[in-house]
Amino acid sequence: MAETASDDGFVVFDRVQKSYDGETLVVKDLNLSVAKGEFLTMLGPSGSGKTTCLMMLAGFETATHGDIRLGGQPINNIPPHKRGIGMVFQNYALFPHMTIAENLAFPLEVRKIGKSDREAKIKRALDMVEMGDFGGRRPAQLSGGQQQRIALARALVFEPELVLMDEPLGALDKQLREKMQFEITHLAHNLGITTVYVTHDQTEALTMSDNVAVFDDGRIQQLAPPDLLYEKPENSFVAQFIGENNTLEGVVTEISGDTCVVRLDDGEELDATPINVSNVGDRTTVSIRPERVEYNKERLQKGAHTLKAEVLEFIYMGDIFRTRLRVAGNDEFIIKTRNAPDVERLKPGQQIEIGWLPQDCRALDA
Protein backbone atom coordinates (compact mmCIF):
# COMPACT_ATOMS: atom_id res chain seq x y z
CA MET A 1 0.00 0.00 0.00
CA ALA A 2 1.11 3.53 -0.65
CA GLU A 3 2.88 5.13 2.22
CA THR A 4 2.07 8.64 3.22
CA ALA A 5 4.57 11.06 1.77
CA SER A 6 6.67 12.83 4.34
CA ASP A 7 7.75 16.41 3.82
CA ASP A 8 11.45 15.85 4.27
CA GLY A 9 11.99 13.93 1.02
CA PHE A 10 14.07 15.46 -1.77
CA VAL A 11 11.48 14.43 -4.32
CA VAL A 12 7.92 14.27 -3.05
CA PHE A 13 4.74 13.23 -4.83
CA ASP A 14 1.84 14.37 -2.68
CA ARG A 15 -1.59 12.95 -3.57
CA VAL A 16 -0.80 13.15 -7.28
CA GLN A 17 -3.37 12.14 -9.85
CA LYS A 18 -3.12 12.17 -13.61
CA SER A 19 -5.75 11.76 -16.26
CA TYR A 20 -5.17 12.20 -19.98
CA ASP A 21 -8.81 12.26 -21.06
CA GLY A 22 -10.46 13.76 -17.97
CA GLU A 23 -12.23 10.50 -17.17
CA THR A 24 -9.89 7.62 -16.44
CA LEU A 25 -7.07 8.14 -13.98
CA VAL A 26 -3.74 6.81 -15.19
CA VAL A 27 -2.16 7.68 -11.86
CA LYS A 28 -4.41 7.40 -8.82
CA ASP A 29 -3.44 9.06 -5.57
CA LEU A 30 0.32 8.72 -5.72
CA ASN A 31 2.29 9.44 -2.56
CA LEU A 32 6.00 8.95 -2.74
CA SER A 33 9.04 10.41 -1.10
CA VAL A 34 12.59 9.96 -2.37
CA ALA A 35 15.47 10.86 -0.05
CA LYS A 36 18.54 12.74 -1.27
CA GLY A 37 21.08 10.36 -2.78
CA GLU A 38 18.57 7.54 -3.01
CA PHE A 39 18.29 5.24 -6.03
CA LEU A 40 14.58 4.62 -6.47
CA THR A 41 13.17 2.38 -9.15
CA MET A 42 9.63 2.57 -10.40
CA LEU A 43 8.80 -0.94 -11.51
CA GLY A 44 5.61 -2.11 -13.11
CA PRO A 45 3.96 -3.60 -16.16
CA SER A 46 3.29 -1.33 -19.13
CA GLY A 47 0.31 0.92 -18.53
CA SER A 48 0.83 0.94 -14.78
CA GLY A 49 1.53 4.67 -14.68
CA LYS A 50 5.24 4.55 -13.92
CA THR A 51 6.40 6.39 -17.05
CA THR A 52 3.65 8.98 -16.61
CA CYS A 53 5.02 9.66 -13.12
CA LEU A 54 8.52 10.14 -14.52
CA MET A 55 7.20 12.48 -17.21
CA MET A 56 5.37 14.53 -14.59
CA LEU A 57 8.57 14.81 -12.59
CA ALA A 58 10.49 15.90 -15.71
CA GLY A 59 7.72 18.39 -16.53
CA PHE A 60 6.55 16.91 -19.84
CA GLU A 61 3.18 16.03 -18.37
CA THR A 62 1.21 18.04 -15.86
CA ALA A 63 -0.38 16.52 -12.80
CA THR A 64 -4.17 16.71 -12.91
CA HIS A 65 -4.30 16.93 -9.15
CA GLY A 66 -1.81 17.07 -6.29
CA ASP A 67 1.68 18.48 -5.74
CA ILE A 68 5.11 17.40 -6.88
CA ARG A 69 7.91 18.92 -4.81
CA LEU A 70 11.62 19.01 -5.51
CA GLY A 71 13.88 20.05 -2.66
CA GLY A 72 10.83 21.34 -0.78
CA GLN A 73 9.65 23.57 -3.66
CA PRO A 74 6.48 22.75 -5.59
CA ILE A 75 7.43 22.34 -9.26
CA ASN A 76 4.01 21.95 -10.86
CA ASN A 77 4.28 25.40 -12.43
CA ILE A 78 7.92 25.26 -13.46
CA PRO A 79 8.53 24.45 -17.15
CA PRO A 80 10.83 21.49 -17.91
CA HIS A 81 13.76 23.65 -18.98
CA LYS A 82 13.90 25.41 -15.62
CA ARG A 83 13.77 22.29 -13.45
CA GLY A 84 17.46 21.40 -13.76
CA ILE A 85 16.80 17.67 -13.80
CA GLY A 86 19.03 15.35 -15.83
CA MET A 87 17.37 12.67 -17.87
CA VAL A 88 18.37 9.59 -19.83
CA PHE A 89 15.78 8.74 -22.47
CA GLN A 90 14.73 5.30 -23.58
CA ASN A 91 16.07 5.85 -27.11
CA TYR A 92 18.95 8.03 -25.76
CA ALA A 93 17.74 11.12 -27.69
CA LEU A 94 21.25 12.15 -28.70
CA PHE A 95 21.25 15.02 -31.21
CA PRO A 96 22.24 13.36 -34.50
CA HIS A 97 23.50 16.59 -36.07
CA MET A 98 26.02 17.30 -33.32
CA THR A 99 29.22 15.53 -32.35
CA ILE A 100 29.44 13.80 -28.97
CA ALA A 101 31.32 16.78 -27.54
CA GLU A 102 28.70 19.19 -28.91
CA ASN A 103 25.95 17.04 -27.42
CA LEU A 104 27.58 17.30 -24.03
CA ALA A 105 28.28 21.00 -24.49
CA PHE A 106 24.61 21.73 -25.16
CA PRO A 107 23.36 21.81 -21.55
CA LEU A 108 26.44 23.81 -20.56
CA GLU A 109 26.05 26.35 -23.38
CA VAL A 110 22.42 27.06 -22.55
CA ARG A 111 23.60 27.65 -18.97
CA LYS A 112 26.16 30.14 -20.33
CA ILE A 113 29.13 28.33 -18.85
CA GLY A 114 32.48 29.61 -20.18
CA LYS A 115 34.42 27.71 -22.82
CA SER A 116 37.33 26.47 -20.69
CA ASP A 117 35.03 25.43 -17.87
CA ARG A 118 32.82 23.69 -20.40
CA GLU A 119 35.65 21.71 -21.89
CA ALA A 120 36.85 20.55 -18.48
CA LYS A 121 33.38 19.37 -17.54
CA ILE A 122 32.87 17.57 -20.86
CA LYS A 123 36.20 15.80 -20.50
CA ARG A 124 35.37 14.74 -16.96
CA ALA A 125 31.94 13.44 -17.97
CA LEU A 126 33.32 11.50 -20.93
CA ASP A 127 36.09 9.99 -18.82
CA MET A 128 33.52 9.01 -16.24
CA VAL A 129 31.77 6.76 -18.76
CA GLU A 130 35.09 5.70 -20.33
CA MET A 131 34.33 7.41 -23.63
CA GLY A 132 37.12 10.02 -23.49
CA ASP A 133 38.29 9.44 -27.08
CA PHE A 134 34.90 9.73 -28.71
CA GLY A 135 34.25 13.49 -28.44
CA GLY A 136 34.67 14.10 -32.18
CA ARG A 137 32.36 11.33 -33.36
CA ARG A 138 28.71 11.57 -34.24
CA PRO A 139 26.04 9.50 -32.49
CA ALA A 140 25.34 7.44 -35.64
CA GLN A 141 28.95 6.24 -35.58
CA LEU A 142 28.59 4.70 -32.12
CA SER A 143 27.16 1.35 -31.06
CA GLY A 144 24.04 1.13 -28.90
CA GLY A 145 26.06 0.61 -25.74
CA GLN A 146 28.32 3.56 -26.51
CA GLN A 147 25.33 5.80 -27.24
CA GLN A 148 23.89 4.72 -23.91
CA ARG A 149 27.06 5.85 -22.13
CA ILE A 150 27.00 9.19 -23.93
CA ALA A 151 23.36 9.71 -22.97
CA LEU A 152 24.34 9.06 -19.38
CA ALA A 153 27.30 11.43 -19.58
CA ARG A 154 25.08 14.13 -21.11
CA ALA A 155 22.53 13.78 -18.32
CA LEU A 156 25.27 14.13 -15.70
CA VAL A 157 27.52 16.76 -17.32
CA PHE A 158 25.67 19.76 -15.88
CA GLU A 159 25.79 18.21 -12.42
CA PRO A 160 22.08 17.93 -11.68
CA GLU A 161 21.06 16.77 -8.23
CA LEU A 162 18.34 14.55 -9.66
CA VAL A 163 18.62 12.24 -12.64
CA LEU A 164 15.70 10.44 -14.25
CA MET A 165 16.15 7.34 -16.35
CA ASP A 166 13.40 5.97 -18.55
CA GLU A 167 14.17 2.30 -19.31
CA PRO A 168 17.65 3.31 -20.48
CA LEU A 169 18.92 -0.25 -20.91
CA GLY A 170 15.94 -1.65 -22.77
CA ALA A 171 17.64 -1.69 -26.18
CA LEU A 172 20.87 -3.37 -25.10
CA ASP A 173 21.70 -7.07 -25.21
CA LYS A 174 21.68 -9.05 -21.98
CA GLN A 175 25.40 -9.00 -21.25
CA LEU A 176 25.84 -5.30 -21.89
CA ARG A 177 22.71 -4.59 -19.89
CA GLU A 178 24.09 -6.34 -16.83
CA LYS A 179 27.39 -4.49 -17.13
CA MET A 180 25.61 -1.13 -17.46
CA GLN A 181 23.31 -1.86 -14.50
CA PHE A 182 26.40 -2.23 -12.40
CA GLU A 183 28.07 0.89 -13.81
CA ILE A 184 25.02 3.11 -13.46
CA THR A 185 24.51 2.08 -9.84
CA HIS A 186 28.15 2.77 -9.02
CA LEU A 187 28.16 6.11 -10.78
CA ALA A 188 24.97 7.22 -9.05
CA HIS A 189 26.28 6.27 -5.61
CA ASN A 190 29.75 7.70 -6.15
CA LEU A 191 28.35 11.05 -7.31
CA GLY A 192 25.72 11.05 -4.59
CA ILE A 193 22.96 11.99 -7.00
CA THR A 194 19.33 11.10 -6.47
CA THR A 195 18.11 8.76 -9.18
CA VAL A 196 14.59 7.86 -10.25
CA TYR A 197 14.75 4.90 -12.58
CA VAL A 198 11.85 3.44 -14.55
CA THR A 199 11.86 -0.15 -15.76
CA HIS A 200 9.62 -3.12 -16.35
CA ASP A 201 12.50 -5.53 -15.76
CA GLN A 202 12.32 -6.82 -12.19
CA THR A 203 15.89 -8.15 -12.17
CA GLU A 204 17.11 -4.68 -13.08
CA ALA A 205 15.00 -3.18 -10.30
CA LEU A 206 16.23 -5.65 -7.69
CA THR A 207 19.90 -5.39 -8.56
CA MET A 208 20.15 -1.61 -8.92
CA SER A 209 17.91 0.05 -6.39
CA ASP A 210 17.92 1.21 -2.80
CA ASN A 211 14.15 1.19 -2.93
CA VAL A 212 11.68 -0.17 -5.44
CA ALA A 213 8.17 1.17 -5.93
CA VAL A 214 6.04 -1.48 -7.59
CA PHE A 215 3.34 0.14 -9.72
CA ASP A 216 0.13 -1.37 -10.89
CA ASP A 217 -3.13 0.17 -11.95
CA GLY A 218 -1.91 3.71 -11.24
CA ARG A 219 -0.95 3.02 -7.63
CA ILE A 220 2.14 2.03 -5.75
CA GLN A 221 1.48 -1.54 -4.61
CA GLN A 222 4.55 -1.72 -2.42
CA LEU A 223 7.54 0.50 -1.73
CA ALA A 224 10.41 -1.38 -0.17
CA PRO A 225 14.09 -2.28 -0.49
CA PRO A 226 14.69 -5.17 -2.96
CA ASP A 227 15.15 -7.90 -0.31
CA LEU A 228 11.95 -7.05 1.52
CA LEU A 229 10.08 -6.83 -1.76
CA TYR A 230 11.16 -10.30 -2.74
CA GLU A 231 10.90 -11.99 0.62
CA LYS A 232 7.99 -10.13 2.14
CA PRO A 233 5.59 -9.10 -0.63
CA GLU A 234 2.60 -7.35 0.87
CA ASN A 235 -0.01 -8.36 -1.66
CA SER A 236 -0.57 -10.98 -4.32
CA PHE A 237 0.26 -8.61 -7.20
CA VAL A 238 3.74 -7.91 -5.84
CA ALA A 239 4.29 -11.58 -5.04
CA GLN A 240 3.37 -12.53 -8.60
CA PHE A 241 5.25 -9.70 -10.29
CA ILE A 242 8.57 -10.03 -8.47
CA GLY A 243 10.37 -13.28 -9.10
CA GLU A 244 8.85 -16.69 -9.58
CA ASN A 245 6.03 -17.55 -7.27
CA ASN A 246 3.66 -20.43 -6.50
CA THR A 247 0.11 -19.69 -5.47
CA LEU A 248 -2.57 -21.82 -3.85
CA GLU A 249 -6.07 -20.64 -3.04
CA GLY A 250 -8.09 -21.39 0.06
CA VAL A 251 -9.82 -20.11 3.18
CA VAL A 252 -8.26 -19.06 6.48
CA THR A 253 -9.40 -21.45 9.25
CA GLU A 254 -7.25 -20.41 12.17
CA ILE A 255 -5.26 -17.32 13.07
CA SER A 256 -3.02 -17.14 16.10
CA GLY A 257 -0.58 -14.23 16.27
CA ASP A 258 1.77 -14.42 13.30
CA THR A 259 0.78 -17.82 11.99
CA CYS A 260 -2.41 -19.08 10.43
CA VAL A 261 -3.82 -22.26 8.94
CA VAL A 262 -5.31 -22.19 5.47
CA ARG A 263 -7.62 -24.88 4.18
CA LEU A 264 -7.14 -25.23 0.45
CA ASP A 265 -10.05 -25.74 -1.91
CA ASP A 266 -9.41 -29.49 -2.04
CA GLY A 267 -9.52 -29.81 1.77
CA GLU A 268 -5.80 -29.98 2.57
CA GLU A 269 -4.39 -27.70 5.23
CA LEU A 270 -1.16 -25.76 5.39
CA ASP A 271 0.65 -23.30 7.63
CA ALA A 272 1.21 -19.72 6.57
CA THR A 273 1.97 -16.24 7.82
CA PRO A 274 -1.05 -13.93 7.60
CA ILE A 275 -0.16 -10.72 5.72
CA ASN A 276 -3.32 -9.03 4.58
CA VAL A 277 -5.94 -11.43 5.87
CA SER A 278 -7.38 -10.68 9.27
CA ASN A 279 -10.40 -12.89 9.88
CA VAL A 280 -11.09 -16.58 10.01
CA GLY A 281 -13.17 -17.40 6.94
CA ASP A 282 -11.39 -14.91 4.59
CA ARG A 283 -10.51 -16.12 1.10
CA THR A 284 -6.79 -16.01 0.55
CA THR A 285 -4.05 -16.65 -1.99
CA VAL A 286 -1.01 -18.16 -0.34
CA SER A 287 2.28 -17.41 -1.96
CA ILE A 288 5.47 -19.39 -1.68
CA ARG A 289 8.80 -19.02 -3.49
CA PRO A 290 9.98 -22.12 -5.43
CA GLU A 291 13.31 -22.24 -3.56
CA ARG A 292 11.63 -22.26 -0.13
CA VAL A 293 9.65 -25.46 -0.65
CA GLU A 294 11.01 -28.45 1.28
CA TYR A 295 10.46 -32.11 0.53
CA ASN A 296 13.10 -33.31 2.98
CA LYS A 297 11.04 -33.88 6.14
CA GLU A 298 14.03 -33.49 8.45
CA ARG A 299 14.27 -29.81 7.59
CA LEU A 300 10.63 -29.09 8.43
CA GLN A 301 9.32 -27.83 11.70
CA LYS A 302 7.78 -30.41 13.98
CA GLY A 303 4.03 -30.70 13.56
CA ALA A 304 4.05 -28.61 10.38
CA HIS A 305 1.27 -29.35 7.90
CA THR A 306 2.51 -31.02 4.74
CA LEU A 307 0.88 -31.45 1.33
CA LYS A 308 0.87 -34.40 -1.01
CA ALA A 309 2.40 -33.72 -4.39
CA GLU A 310 2.99 -35.61 -7.61
CA VAL A 311 6.12 -34.95 -9.66
CA LEU A 312 5.20 -34.02 -13.24
CA GLU A 313 8.51 -32.89 -14.72
CA PHE A 314 12.12 -32.72 -13.58
CA ILE A 315 14.47 -30.33 -15.37
CA TYR A 316 18.21 -30.38 -14.84
CA MET A 317 19.47 -26.80 -15.15
CA GLY A 318 23.04 -27.19 -14.01
CA ASP A 319 23.23 -25.19 -10.81
CA ILE A 320 19.64 -25.96 -9.84
CA PHE A 321 16.98 -28.58 -10.38
CA ARG A 322 13.61 -27.27 -11.41
CA THR A 323 10.71 -29.59 -10.67
CA ARG A 324 7.11 -29.12 -11.68
CA LEU A 325 4.55 -30.64 -9.31
CA ARG A 326 0.83 -31.11 -9.07
CA VAL A 327 -0.18 -29.72 -5.69
CA ALA A 328 -3.81 -29.37 -4.59
CA GLY A 329 -4.98 -29.41 -8.20
CA ASN A 330 -2.37 -26.86 -9.35
CA ASP A 331 -0.24 -28.31 -12.17
CA GLU A 332 2.17 -25.38 -12.29
CA PHE A 333 3.67 -25.66 -8.83
CA ILE A 334 7.42 -25.15 -9.28
CA ILE A 335 10.17 -26.00 -6.84
CA LYS A 336 13.83 -25.18 -7.24
CA THR A 337 16.51 -27.20 -5.52
CA ARG A 338 20.19 -26.44 -5.41
CA ASN A 339 22.29 -29.10 -7.16
CA ALA A 340 24.16 -30.87 -4.33
CA PRO A 341 25.42 -34.47 -4.00
CA ASP A 342 22.93 -35.39 -1.29
CA VAL A 343 19.84 -34.04 -3.04
CA GLU A 344 17.45 -36.60 -4.41
CA ARG A 345 16.66 -36.24 -8.12
CA LEU A 346 12.91 -36.63 -8.40
CA LYS A 347 11.28 -38.68 -11.15
CA PRO A 348 8.02 -37.92 -12.95
CA GLY A 349 5.15 -39.85 -11.39
CA GLN A 350 6.81 -39.98 -7.97
CA GLN A 351 4.56 -39.12 -4.99
CA ILE A 352 6.18 -36.84 -2.39
CA GLU A 353 5.23 -34.70 0.58
CA ILE A 354 6.13 -31.05 0.59
CA GLY A 355 6.14 -28.42 3.28
CA TRP A 356 7.73 -25.15 4.32
CA LEU A 357 8.45 -22.87 7.19
CA PRO A 358 5.32 -20.85 7.94
CA GLN A 359 7.26 -17.59 7.61
CA ASP A 360 8.10 -18.45 3.99
CA CYS A 361 4.47 -19.00 3.11
CA ARG A 362 2.44 -15.83 3.00
CA ALA A 363 -1.33 -15.64 3.09
CA LEU A 364 -2.26 -12.68 0.87
CA ASP A 365 -5.42 -11.11 -0.50
CA ALA A 366 -7.44 -13.37 -2.77
Partner: protein, 283 residues
Protein backbone atom coordinates in the same frame (compact mmCIF):
# COMPACT_ATOMS: atom_id res chain seq x y z
CA UNK B 1 15.46 -5.62 -64.13
CA UNK B 2 16.09 -8.72 -66.18
CA UNK B 3 13.31 -11.15 -66.98
CA UNK B 4 13.49 -14.37 -64.97
CA UNK B 5 13.89 -17.53 -67.12
CA UNK B 6 10.48 -18.83 -66.09
CA UNK B 7 8.58 -15.71 -67.31
CA UNK B 8 5.43 -16.51 -69.24
CA UNK B 9 4.67 -15.05 -72.69
CA UNK B 10 2.28 -12.56 -71.07
CA UNK B 11 4.97 -11.42 -68.68
CA UNK B 12 7.45 -11.04 -71.55
CA UNK B 13 5.03 -8.95 -73.57
CA UNK B 14 4.24 -6.76 -70.55
CA UNK B 15 7.94 -6.40 -69.73
CA UNK B 16 8.60 -4.73 -73.09
CA UNK B 17 5.30 -2.85 -73.29
CA UNK B 18 6.08 -1.35 -69.89
CA UNK B 19 9.41 -0.03 -71.13
CA UNK B 20 7.77 1.48 -74.21
CA UNK B 21 5.15 3.22 -72.06
CA UNK B 22 7.83 4.63 -69.75
CA UNK B 23 9.78 5.88 -72.76
CA UNK B 24 6.72 7.59 -74.20
CA UNK B 25 5.96 9.31 -70.90
CA UNK B 26 9.50 10.65 -70.66
CA UNK B 27 9.37 11.81 -74.28
CA UNK B 28 6.10 13.61 -73.68
CA UNK B 29 7.47 15.36 -70.61
CA UNK B 30 10.85 16.35 -71.92
CA UNK B 31 10.47 16.87 -75.69
CA UNK B 32 8.75 20.28 -75.49
CA UNK B 33 11.50 21.58 -73.22
CA UNK B 34 14.33 20.12 -75.28
CA UNK B 35 12.94 21.47 -78.55
CA UNK B 36 12.93 25.00 -77.18
CA UNK B 37 16.66 25.04 -76.53
CA UNK B 38 18.01 24.76 -80.15
CA UNK B 39 15.19 26.97 -81.41
CA UNK B 40 16.34 29.76 -79.11
CA UNK B 41 19.55 29.97 -81.12
CA UNK B 42 17.62 30.53 -84.36
CA UNK B 43 19.07 33.35 -86.48
CA UNK B 44 15.64 34.05 -87.95
CA UNK B 45 12.64 35.42 -86.12
CA UNK B 46 10.76 32.14 -86.49
CA UNK B 47 9.50 29.53 -84.11
CA UNK B 48 10.36 26.71 -86.51
CA UNK B 49 13.58 25.00 -87.54
CA UNK B 50 14.95 26.63 -90.67
CA UNK B 51 16.72 24.75 -93.47
CA UNK B 52 20.08 26.11 -92.28
CA UNK B 53 19.49 24.88 -88.76
CA UNK B 54 18.51 21.41 -89.91
CA UNK B 55 21.68 21.15 -92.01
CA UNK B 56 23.76 22.42 -89.05
CA UNK B 57 24.91 25.47 -91.00
CA UNK B 58 26.52 27.89 -88.49
CA UNK B 59 24.79 30.75 -90.31
CA UNK B 60 21.44 29.37 -89.16
CA UNK B 61 22.37 29.90 -85.48
CA UNK B 62 22.90 33.11 -83.54
CA UNK B 63 22.72 34.63 -80.07
CA UNK B 64 20.57 37.56 -81.22
CA UNK B 65 17.57 36.55 -79.09
CA UNK B 66 19.78 36.39 -76.02
CA UNK B 67 21.16 39.83 -76.88
CA UNK B 68 17.60 41.06 -77.25
CA UNK B 69 16.72 39.68 -73.81
CA UNK B 70 19.67 41.34 -72.12
CA UNK B 71 19.36 44.57 -74.07
CA UNK B 72 15.62 45.14 -74.08
CA UNK B 73 14.43 47.25 -71.10
CA UNK B 74 11.03 45.50 -71.10
CA UNK B 75 12.69 42.13 -70.48
CA UNK B 76 15.17 43.56 -68.01
CA UNK B 77 12.39 45.18 -65.97
CA UNK B 78 10.50 41.89 -65.99
CA UNK B 79 13.59 39.98 -64.85
CA UNK B 80 14.22 42.50 -62.10
CA UNK B 81 10.58 42.27 -60.93
CA UNK B 82 10.76 38.49 -60.79
CA UNK B 83 14.01 38.64 -58.86
CA UNK B 84 12.45 41.08 -56.37
CA UNK B 85 9.19 39.16 -55.92
CA UNK B 86 10.24 35.49 -55.82
CA UNK B 87 12.73 35.61 -52.91
CA UNK B 88 10.39 37.72 -50.75
CA UNK B 89 7.50 35.35 -51.44
CA UNK B 90 9.76 32.36 -50.75
CA UNK B 91 10.96 33.77 -47.43
CA UNK B 92 7.38 34.40 -46.36
CA UNK B 93 6.20 30.95 -47.48
CA UNK B 94 9.05 29.20 -45.70
CA UNK B 95 8.64 31.02 -42.39
CA UNK B 96 4.88 30.67 -42.24
CA UNK B 97 4.76 27.21 -43.80
CA UNK B 98 7.39 25.76 -41.46
CA UNK B 99 5.66 27.16 -38.39
CA UNK B 100 2.32 25.85 -39.62
CA UNK B 101 3.77 22.38 -40.27
CA UNK B 102 5.29 22.22 -36.80
CA UNK B 103 2.10 23.42 -35.16
CA UNK B 104 -0.04 21.01 -37.13
CA UNK B 105 2.19 18.08 -36.23
CA UNK B 106 1.32 18.49 -32.53
CA UNK B 107 -1.32 15.93 -31.67
CA UNK B 108 -3.19 18.23 -29.29
CA UNK B 109 -4.07 20.91 -31.88
CA UNK B 110 -7.83 20.87 -32.47
CA UNK B 111 -9.19 20.53 -36.02
CA UNK B 112 -5.71 19.83 -37.43
CA UNK B 113 -7.02 18.18 -40.55
CA UNK B 114 -9.43 20.99 -41.35
CA UNK B 115 -6.71 23.63 -40.86
CA UNK B 116 -4.27 21.63 -42.96
CA UNK B 117 -6.83 21.25 -45.75
CA UNK B 118 -7.51 25.01 -45.74
CA UNK B 119 -3.83 25.87 -45.92
CA UNK B 120 -3.20 23.43 -48.74
CA UNK B 121 -6.28 24.50 -50.72
CA UNK B 122 -4.41 26.98 -52.99
CA UNK B 123 -2.76 23.91 -54.51
CA UNK B 124 -6.08 22.23 -55.23
CA UNK B 125 -8.40 25.10 -56.10
CA UNK B 126 -8.08 26.04 -59.80
CA UNK B 127 -5.56 28.86 -60.03
CA UNK B 128 -7.87 31.13 -61.97
CA UNK B 129 -10.39 30.96 -59.11
CA UNK B 130 -7.77 31.77 -56.47
CA UNK B 131 -6.53 34.59 -58.67
CA UNK B 132 -9.97 36.08 -59.19
CA UNK B 133 -10.74 35.79 -55.47
CA UNK B 134 -7.46 37.40 -54.51
CA UNK B 135 -8.06 40.19 -57.00
CA UNK B 136 -11.42 41.13 -55.44
CA UNK B 137 -10.17 40.72 -51.91
CA UNK B 138 -6.89 42.60 -52.44
CA UNK B 139 -8.72 45.45 -54.24
CA UNK B 140 -10.88 45.99 -51.17
CA UNK B 141 -7.93 46.28 -48.82
CA UNK B 142 -5.76 48.26 -51.21
CA UNK B 143 -3.20 45.54 -51.92
CA UNK B 144 -4.09 45.00 -55.57
CA UNK B 145 -1.47 46.35 -57.96
CA UNK B 146 1.19 46.63 -55.25
CA UNK B 147 4.49 44.81 -54.77
CA UNK B 148 3.40 43.40 -51.39
CA UNK B 149 0.11 42.25 -52.88
CA UNK B 150 1.93 40.08 -55.41
CA UNK B 151 4.38 38.84 -52.75
CA UNK B 152 1.53 37.88 -50.43
CA UNK B 153 -0.38 36.16 -53.21
CA UNK B 154 2.68 34.18 -54.26
CA UNK B 155 3.44 33.30 -50.64
CA UNK B 156 -0.07 31.88 -50.31
CA UNK B 157 0.63 29.70 -53.35
CA UNK B 158 4.01 28.60 -52.00
CA UNK B 159 2.92 27.76 -48.43
CA UNK B 160 1.27 24.42 -49.33
CA UNK B 161 4.54 23.13 -50.77
CA UNK B 162 6.46 24.10 -47.64
CA UNK B 163 3.81 22.57 -45.37
CA UNK B 164 3.86 19.31 -47.29
CA UNK B 165 7.64 18.91 -47.42
CA UNK B 166 8.20 20.00 -43.81
CA UNK B 167 5.37 17.79 -42.52
CA UNK B 168 6.99 14.87 -44.32
CA UNK B 169 10.32 15.45 -42.53
CA UNK B 170 8.54 15.96 -39.21
CA UNK B 171 7.04 12.48 -39.45
CA UNK B 172 10.50 11.07 -38.93
CA UNK B 173 11.38 13.61 -36.24
CA UNK B 174 11.89 12.13 -32.80
CA UNK B 175 10.01 14.23 -30.26
CA UNK B 176 12.21 13.01 -27.46
CA UNK B 177 14.95 15.21 -28.98
CA UNK B 178 13.06 18.39 -28.16
CA UNK B 179 12.22 16.96 -24.76
CA UNK B 180 15.89 16.17 -24.19
CA UNK B 181 16.78 19.75 -25.13
CA UNK B 182 14.19 21.16 -22.73
CA UNK B 183 15.36 18.81 -20.04
CA UNK B 184 18.90 20.10 -20.44
CA UNK B 185 17.72 23.65 -19.87
CA UNK B 186 17.08 25.01 -23.36
CA UNK B 187 14.05 27.29 -23.70
CA UNK B 188 11.63 26.56 -26.56
CA UNK B 189 13.19 29.13 -28.92
CA UNK B 190 16.73 27.79 -28.41
CA UNK B 191 15.41 24.26 -28.81
CA UNK B 192 13.78 25.20 -32.09
CA UNK B 193 16.82 26.82 -33.66
CA UNK B 194 19.50 24.50 -32.29
CA UNK B 195 17.75 21.13 -32.41
CA UNK B 196 14.58 21.03 -34.47
CA UNK B 197 15.46 23.40 -37.31
CA UNK B 198 18.79 21.78 -38.26
CA UNK B 199 17.13 18.39 -38.40
CA UNK B 200 14.17 19.38 -40.55
CA UNK B 201 16.31 21.62 -42.77
CA UNK B 202 16.23 19.28 -45.80
CA UNK B 203 12.43 19.52 -45.84
CA UNK B 204 12.53 23.27 -45.38
CA UNK B 205 14.97 23.67 -48.26
CA UNK B 206 12.93 21.51 -50.65
CA UNK B 207 9.83 23.48 -49.68
CA UNK B 208 11.67 26.75 -50.27
CA UNK B 209 12.74 25.56 -53.70
CA UNK B 210 9.21 24.68 -54.71
CA UNK B 211 7.90 27.97 -53.33
CA UNK B 212 10.58 29.90 -55.24
CA UNK B 213 9.84 28.16 -58.52
CA UNK B 214 6.10 28.59 -58.02
CA UNK B 215 6.55 32.33 -57.71
CA UNK B 216 9.14 32.55 -60.48
CA UNK B 217 6.87 30.65 -62.93
CA UNK B 218 3.55 32.08 -61.95
CA UNK B 219 1.54 34.05 -64.51
CA UNK B 220 -2.19 33.87 -63.71
CA UNK B 221 -2.20 35.39 -60.23
CA UNK B 222 0.30 38.09 -61.06
CA UNK B 223 -1.81 39.23 -64.02
CA UNK B 224 -4.84 39.58 -61.75
CA UNK B 225 -3.21 40.97 -58.64
CA UNK B 226 -0.25 42.86 -60.08
CA UNK B 227 -0.07 46.01 -62.14
CA UNK B 228 2.32 46.99 -64.93
CA UNK B 229 4.91 47.75 -62.26
CA UNK B 230 4.95 44.14 -61.15
CA UNK B 231 5.26 42.65 -64.63
CA UNK B 232 7.30 39.48 -64.01
CA UNK B 233 9.20 37.32 -66.52
CA UNK B 234 6.35 34.83 -67.11
CA UNK B 235 3.94 37.72 -67.59
CA UNK B 236 6.29 39.34 -70.08
CA UNK B 237 6.61 36.00 -71.89
CA UNK B 238 2.85 35.71 -71.99
CA UNK B 239 2.44 39.15 -73.51
CA UNK B 240 5.39 38.44 -75.77
CA UNK B 241 3.61 35.38 -77.14
CA UNK B 242 0.46 37.33 -77.86
CA UNK B 243 1.85 40.59 -79.12
CA UNK B 244 5.35 40.17 -80.49
CA UNK B 245 5.79 36.49 -81.29
CA UNK B 246 9.53 36.94 -80.92
CA UNK B 247 11.85 33.95 -80.34
CA UNK B 248 13.33 35.97 -77.44
CA UNK B 249 10.73 34.05 -75.42
CA UNK B 250 12.59 30.88 -76.33
CA UNK B 251 15.86 32.36 -75.14
CA UNK B 252 14.22 33.34 -71.86
CA UNK B 253 12.70 29.88 -71.55
CA UNK B 254 16.12 28.31 -72.06
CA UNK B 255 17.64 30.58 -69.43
CA UNK B 256 14.87 29.68 -66.99
CA UNK B 257 15.33 25.97 -67.64
CA UNK B 258 19.07 26.27 -67.03
CA UNK B 259 18.48 28.26 -63.83
CA UNK B 260 15.99 25.65 -62.60
CA UNK B 261 18.35 22.77 -63.26
CA UNK B 262 21.23 24.61 -61.62
CA UNK B 263 19.09 25.43 -58.60
CA UNK B 264 17.84 21.87 -58.14
CA UNK B 265 21.32 20.42 -58.54
CA UNK B 266 22.90 22.85 -56.07
CA UNK B 267 20.25 22.27 -53.45
CA UNK B 268 20.44 18.51 -53.83
CA UNK B 269 24.23 18.57 -53.51
CA UNK B 270 24.02 20.81 -50.45
CA UNK B 271 21.41 18.56 -48.89
CA UNK B 272 23.51 15.44 -49.43
CA UNK B 273 26.57 17.15 -48.05
CA UNK B 274 24.76 18.30 -44.91
CA UNK B 275 23.22 14.87 -44.40
CA UNK B 276 26.62 13.28 -44.65
CA UNK B 277 28.03 15.79 -42.18
CA UNK B 278 25.20 15.10 -39.79
CA UNK B 279 25.91 11.41 -40.00
CA UNK B 280 22.28 10.77 -40.82
CA UNK B 281 23.05 8.75 -43.91
CA UNK B 282 26.09 6.54 -44.48
CA UNK B 283 28.84 8.60 -46.12
Amino acid sequence: MALPPYASTGQRVWHYTFRVICGLIFFFLIAPIVVVIPLSFNSQDFFTFTKEMLSFDPAGYSLKHYRDFFGNPDWQDALWNSVKIAPAATLLSVSLGTLAAIGLSQPHVPARRAIMATLISPMIVPLIISAAGMYFFYSRIGLAGTYWGVVLAHAALGIPFVIITVTATLVGFDRSLTRAAANMGADPVTTFFRVQMPLILPGVISGALFAFITSFDEVVVVIFVGSAKQQTLPWQMFTGLREQISPTILAVATILVVISIALLTTVELLRRRSERLRGMSPG
